[in-house]
Amino acid sequence: MSILDSKIPEGPLADKWTKHKNTINLVNPANKRNIDVIVVGTGLAGGSAAATLAELGYNVKTFCYQDSPRRAHSIAAQGGINAAKNYQGDGDSNYRLFYDTIKGGDYRSREANVHRLAEVSGNIIDQCVAQGVPFAREYGGLLDNRSFGGVLVSRTFYAKGQTGQQLLLGAYSAMNRQINRGKIQAFNRHEMLDLVKVDGKARGIIARNLVTGEIERHSAHAVVLASGGYGNVFFLSTNAMGSNVMAAWRAHRRGAFFANPCYTQIHPTCIPVSGDHQSKLTLMSESLRNDGRIWVPKRIEDAQAIREGKLKPTQLAEEERDYYLERRYPAFGNLVPRDVASRAAKERCDAGFGVNKTGEAVYLDFASAIQRYGKEKALTSGLHNPSADQVRELGEKVIEDKYGNLFQMYEKIVDENPYKTPMMIYPAVHYTMGGLWVDYNLQTTVPGCYAAGEANFSDHGANRLGASALMQGLADGYFVLPYTIGDYLSQDIRTGKIPTDTPEFDQAEKDVKDRIEKLMGGSGEHSVDYYHKKLGKIMWNKCGMSRNEQGLKEAIEEISALREDFWKNVKVPGDANSMNPELEKAGRVADFLELGELFAKDALDRNESCGGHFREESVEQSGEQKGEALRDDKNFKYVSAWEYKGEPKDAQLHKEDLVFENIELKTRSYK
């Protein structure tokens, strides 16, 4: 019997959440005023949770490393947010969103959590519109939708290619209202360095003021971690430069189990790496696959000529191109889920069909969409005999309206005009499905410590569908956590303020200061980035899109050795008692060096292919699915939850068996 209790309520799937809300304990409004909650991270999950908890009457303190909560990396999400509104009348429903998400996640997520997510999805859109989020609308004034990968309906709401920005500004505006009322105290340019436990419960954090270098103690009755994902363990990813795992990892070291660390989403459509100087990668939204067609040359000689600059993609005729997604997956075509699209791109490039200088790129082509839209627009504008140029111009205008900022971004980075020549794209690390293990109430294995948004593991299984991260972040923050946390806090109505002058806070502060001193005391041969880049290379080569036993074993050894070297030889200039971005980075990389090893260990344990985790040893050998990922439900239908035991190699595995009562486990086919 596992020590993990997922606390999934009894009863039929569709009634669980309602019943649970009706039966959990509440805190009365007068008592809420005596209860403090800390929220770490102010992205969609943290910002929305902070605002809602403050509306309810709790005293909230928020922490973010950025200079304003509005800059959290949710802001960079582009394409959209899913909701089962069925405004298009195309057969969508809560059940379909639930089903698509479970299937998209390759049957590695919890039914009850995902169904709840689908249930509240519609409310998110209502809420955001009420807050003034300017979603895209049709001429009739009603909301527009588009389609994303892995689904057969249009359920994605969007605001051009800036949906994350608009939703985050919505959550931030809700926060502003509470800041103005004095219910939220925002600690910006602050970083959580440790979780403080008193009598086994999370009762506060140690934070560093990044401007003054001061170490601060903050207490609360509960701590919510909404600190995002850990994609930057790969150094190069679409995450922000500052995105890190520290808050989650510090909680892990204090007893919170870390679940499924190896589940990473490698996004198929990012701008390819241009050189060693590269500091981050830029996403081109999945929404582009609504209109863009992905291809490489059919003949390897053509690919070679393109790489050498002797041939242009526009010179290749239709029949000389291999639209490999449409060829391999006729039912979903260019809109297969991300893991499938990424692996297919890698397969073509590894086979020698890649198209840029490095050989690691495929085309994303808008020519046929420009023609299609141009002709349609010509007709609706009363042009019955438009010239080719007119069609092209009208079509480009439609594309600009839909994806203008993405095309501009591409042009600035690559210096090519994507309206005239196809974009070049390649997969890149984008999102991490793994994270802190949480029960149905989003509570970690440390009582009083909650995790929301990308920081938890809960809803996406082994692969996240496009436009579902924004949905999950806001669902957790606006509609789930504010209810479930009340059940826990109802025990604390007589507790009174948590003092910070206790041995537990003394010890945690001492631990933090010792660690900083150790980081500053390295003998000084290499910069923090040197180690981060080395770690990233190991991760990408051995724990990336394709993994095998030997590579993973090597990764574990190499990361462990690199970590040892880091602690001896890292060079952190400046001092700890003032602003010092190198010190901030050093602390984050130190944690990545531990997480990376656990990641590889988890990937090694999971000897099956599922979602974003592809093991070369586990591939379909015959039939229609030959060469596709082979899942092993008999042996791996569980969540891996790792307990900290000192070194990552000593981490102890706990298994939460996934129970499927409403969905039949099937081979995930998009053919």
Binding site: R71, L142, T282, F479
Partner: protein, 248 residues
């Protein structure tokens, strides 16, 4: 390419700053401006010197963290981009580049090229929201149709990233473009009109308290804005403000 950089170094808010010269070599056109600074910082760290501090995060032009005054222009010579999206192909071998923080009384320097833009946050605390609780019981999202042109204009105003280039570009260090973008987004939507009077008064009042200058319609803000926020927003805010002042 090889470049000479003249960079503002300042220890903290209370210290005096100065321009310091640096040389960087082997800069490629495909590097972003910030990646060029990464090269410099790596050099400085190896030499045991303190790296140059600057704000940056997403490096894809959306978070609004980066904020450099490059050769006298906020976000440098290219149009409609933030510093992180400015690429070195816009410069030539042998160039001398002046790099300073955004300058404004309301944006005090924190360290080197990093400034404190919390004044922007306080303007938004004052009224940059619609007072609606997250009950989940608001009306259906499609219950109120919004005219597409208004929705598109509201969106255009809402794309402001709050970087402060408008303030840095303005000879009066005015924050009118920023504040008006926020006021406009809500004023253009039916949901936002209920509180429009109080909102514009509170936000303009806070803007003035923060010590930003007045608008004299030079339009520099619009030119330098990386997101192309239109001056029309300022006109709209002035109308809203006048209406609100008369209403009281």
């Amino acid at each position: 390419m090889n470049l000479t950089l003249k960079i503002w170094r300042q220890k903290d808010a209370s210290s005096k700053g100065a321009i310091v010269d640096y040389q960087v070599k082997g800069i490629e056109g495909d590097m972003s401006f910030l990646e060029m600074l990464d090269v410099l910082n790596e050099q400085l760290i190896t030499k045991g010197e303190e790296p140059v501090v600057f704000d940056h995060d997403c490096r894809e032009g959306i978070c609004g963290s980066c904020s450099l005054q490059i050769n006298g222009e906020p976000h440098g010579p290219d149009r409609l981009v933030t510093t992180c999206q400015l690429h070195m192909r816009k410069f030539n071998d042998g160039d001398t580049i002046y790099i300073e923080p955004f300058r404004a009384k309301a944006f005090p320097v924190v360290k080197d090229l990093m400034v404190d833009r919390s004044a922007f946050d306080r303007i938004q605390h004052a009224g940059g929201y619609i007072s609606v609780n997250t009950s989940g019981n608001t009306i259906d999202a499609n219950a109120i149709p919004v005219n597409k042109d208004n929705a598109d204009d509201a969106f255009a105003a809402a794309t402001c990233i709050g970087c402060g280039a408008c303030v840095a570009a303005c000879k009066n260090a005015s924050a009118m473009l920023f504040t008006s973008a926020k006021v406009s987004q809500f004023a253009l939507l039916p949901q936002g009109q209920v509180e429009a009077t109080d909102r514009v008064l509170a936000m303009v009042n806070q803007m003035d308290e923060e010590g930003f200058g007045n608008c004299t319609n030079t339009g520099a803000c619009e030119i330098e804005c990386p997101k192309g926020i239109s001056l029309e927003n300022i006109a709209r805010m002035n109308r809203e403000y006048l209406k609100a002042s008369i209403k009281g």
